[in-house]
Symmetry: C2
């Protein structure tokens, strides 16, 4: 793009946003050039920080006219590179649209702007006597617009679903600046096709999410939880089915940790093992509820039956919230392991629940065979079919990581799984997208993109 | 269309389906000319009954080439006229695609063809130790393809969501015959935009659903339930919030019946009132679970607290499944009332939960004012914001029903509600669609239709 053209775009953006609403290099903060992935993008033209939907619309209109790429940014906590800049793009930060517009506790909903930080929304919902049941490690930085644009998963999907299930309504600005209001407030609305699903999980390639109506659930007071040792994956799946059935759907988390993960996290964190080592698989089972003391009987009865049925080898049951938190610290301890194994490759995949055990065994055997010096560990939200795998260090073994990726994704494909369970595609997984989507799906996706963004300005180069 | 052209289409269809797969008038059964709505369509050209996806694809390719409309039909239990024939259309019945291909109980899923009857699937899931948690009055005739195409709601949405939430994957045939496989089996799959949502709730206007992967939940053994009398809507909403919170999300149904409905159903059915008459609102609360006897303590504790808090005036708690069924017979008794009030107009609307009480009061006052001789009754799945309203007889009062409809829908619009909570738009609600969707939404819907069905052959004249 010629300099004169750039200058005109910047002048128009300043006119729309005011001087404080636009930064150009070198005033663009370094943090905006990256997200939490290892992906690196190009040098952006400018950083726009609109304060309302009209300003978002103006930015898009200007960029659409000029054919300038637009890269939306929330909290930049994505792990697939969906928010890294394209060369010459306008970065569109939603950070200034961070107002909670309304909480209707009686109807079980809140109306929020896209730039609200997830944890802020969780706390506001709690203060109003409700719970926003989306939760993930990045809660302190992630913005709800990004959570929705990536259809975020997290810790409680087994009970409350993905971000999609928590979105009642959306406001989206289309590539040409058209505002698309879909601010539905009802759990049930079958007045024609529900168009919000064109944007949930689109990673900013179909439109920019500016506001949302979120569903709130009844508030929970605390949790019962156990950390258990299990003799194999089949027994773990049996335990999950038993717990979900006997607790009548109240299980809020079922996190699996294979022995490689359990040993690594204990070694790195120095924590005392809640249950003995030496078992193939460990699970953290949690049941949140309104009255954890009252509900403990049900939880313990479930555990006793599981013991009698041979589904559990060893178990520690939390007797306080502090002990629940201690169990979660083991699961969340992955962040402490990564620096010790650097550089790692981190996978986020899913396979049908019943096939997880075999799939993990096959991946382990294949990696051991091909990369004998590689360390790896398996864990994840297995109740949803979601496995995470960390492998490293790759420097001496497979510096590009491509061999490790193809080993893993070949097996994921053969098991009918997905190369992205919850992190999205972004830049990082583009080479592997066809492993999990049919040619006809990818064709239709391209046609949809052509319809919604004919000039291809929205987050170009991401996903497809 | 000239006769010679028709003959060629029919010859090509017979070649694709065999003689048994195609019927032409007058051999088309009368039942295929109607659905459960009062809408009437035109005379179809033929009835095609393909036995597999390839045959569906062939039918669509032939009709697409010839520009012949295609009207998909499942169990024809829809209440909005979505399945009535268009003049000269090929009716595409999925009835012969009624095979359960697989039940993977361990993964919690089943793979089915679109023509399977809902109740058959429910029973098969139970036999495999799981539950398919979609349930509605038409379960004995409705086909799963139609349930998905209309995003059916029903009795347990408050706990398990609409049909959409129970669909993991779909296979769809597009207007030009392209088969679009999206047979995902995982609860989590963020490998690009999830395209199945283009078809769920599209009422056959965007593609033909041929197969589905359905999510199965843990099996339930029975229910605790109560029928309660309540002093007003605000208290009913308070009771729902209390029950959802203290039962930690286990409430499976919360059905409201206003006094007009309660009195009418008792009068028509001759049943003994479980709780005294004379209260403004009644609710049926149900909590299904794996061990209803064990769970009764929790349910009764919830009820006692509700009494103490003044949320309930009178209550009957079921002590057996037979008594649970008796409560449901009152709620389902609407079918017995309708003939006594004929001809009726039946509404399916939703408004944000906290506004239901005022909205119902306003509708009642407006109808009384404009149509003093009209009888009406309010009930519905109020836990989801969904109200049903039956008004009649209309013959002497408002024979076209249009005045009654505009009175109701004007108020629904002013409350930010939807003209269709769960029945869809079909033919019946087309005039009112703009009351619940913005111009920008309808524009995008038309563009989507143009992309997916450029010749407009799929269920023409329905929805938009």
């Amino acid at each position: 793009m010629p300099q004169s053209h750039k200058r005109i775009v910047i002048e128009r953006l300043v006119a729309a946003l005011g001087k404080d609403g636009l930064k150009t290099a070198p005033a663009i903060p370094d943090a905006c050039l990256r997200d939490w992935s290892a992906e690196r993008g190009g040098m952006p033209l400018a950083l726009a920080t609109p304060e309302n939907t009209n300003q978002v619309s103006a930015v898009l209109r200007i960029c659409h006219d000029a054919g300038v790429p637009v890269v939306p940014q929330g909290g930049r906590t994505g792990l697939a590179g969906g928010a890294v800049p394209s060369e010459g793009a306008v970065l569109l930060s939603l950070a200034a649209m961070n107002r909670i517009e309304e909480i209707d506790a009686a109807s079980g909903l809140m109306v929020v702007q896209a730039g609200c930080v997830l944890q802020v929304l969780q706390e506001a919902a709690e203060a109003a006597g409700r719970s926003l049941q989306l939760d993930l490690g990045a809660r302190g930085s992630a913005q709800i617009g990004g959570n929705i644009a990536t259809n975020a998963g997290g810790n409680r999907v087994i009970r409350y679903g993905m971000a999609r299930e928590l979105v009642l309504g959306l406001e989206v600005v289309l590539a040409d600046g058209t505002v698309l209001p879909m601010m539905n407030r009802m759990p049930k609305n079958n007045a024609a096709l529900d168009l919000k699903h064109l944007f949930i999980g689109s990673e900013g390639t179909m439109g920019i999410i500016t506001r949302a109506v979120l569903r709130l659930h009844p508030r929970v007071a605390g949790a019962n939880a156990a950390l258990v040792a299990i003799s194999g994956f089949a027994e773990a799946a049996g335990l999950l089915a038993h717990a979900q059935k006997t607790l009548s759907g109240r299980v809020t988390a079922f996190e699996l940790m294979w022995a490689d993960y359990y040993d690594a996290v204990l070694a790195v964190t120095g924590r005392r093992p809640p249950v003995t080592r030496g078992h193939p698989v460990y699970a953290l089972i949690e049941m949140q509820g309104a009255d954890p003391d009252r509900e403990r009987d049900d939880f313990q009865a479930m555990m006793e039956q599981a013991f009698e049925a041979g589904l559990i080898q060893d178990a520690a049951i939390a007797m306080s919230q502090r002990e629940v938190d201690d169990f979660w610290a083991l699961r969340d301890g992955v962040a402490e392991i990564l620096p010790h194994w650097a550089t790692t490759i981190n996978f986020d995949v899913s396979v049908p629940l019943a096939r997880i055990g075999d799939c993990v065994d096959d991946i382990r055997a294949a990696l051991k065979d091909r990369f004998p010096a590689l360390q790896f560990m398996f864990f994840g939200h297995a109740g949803d079919g979601n496995i995470h795998l960390v492998a490293g260090p790759i420097e001496t073994v497979d510096p590009t990581g491509h061999g490790i990726e193809s080993t893993v994704y070949d097996l994921i494909r053969s098991y009918g799984g997905s190369v992205s369970a919850e992190h999205g595609i972004g830049l990082h997984k583009k080479p592997w997208l066809s492993y999990s989507r049919s040619d006809a799906e990818l064709d239709l996706l391209r046609h949809m993109k052509g319809l919604l963004d004919p000039k291809g300005i929205l987050n170009p180069g991401k996903v497809i």
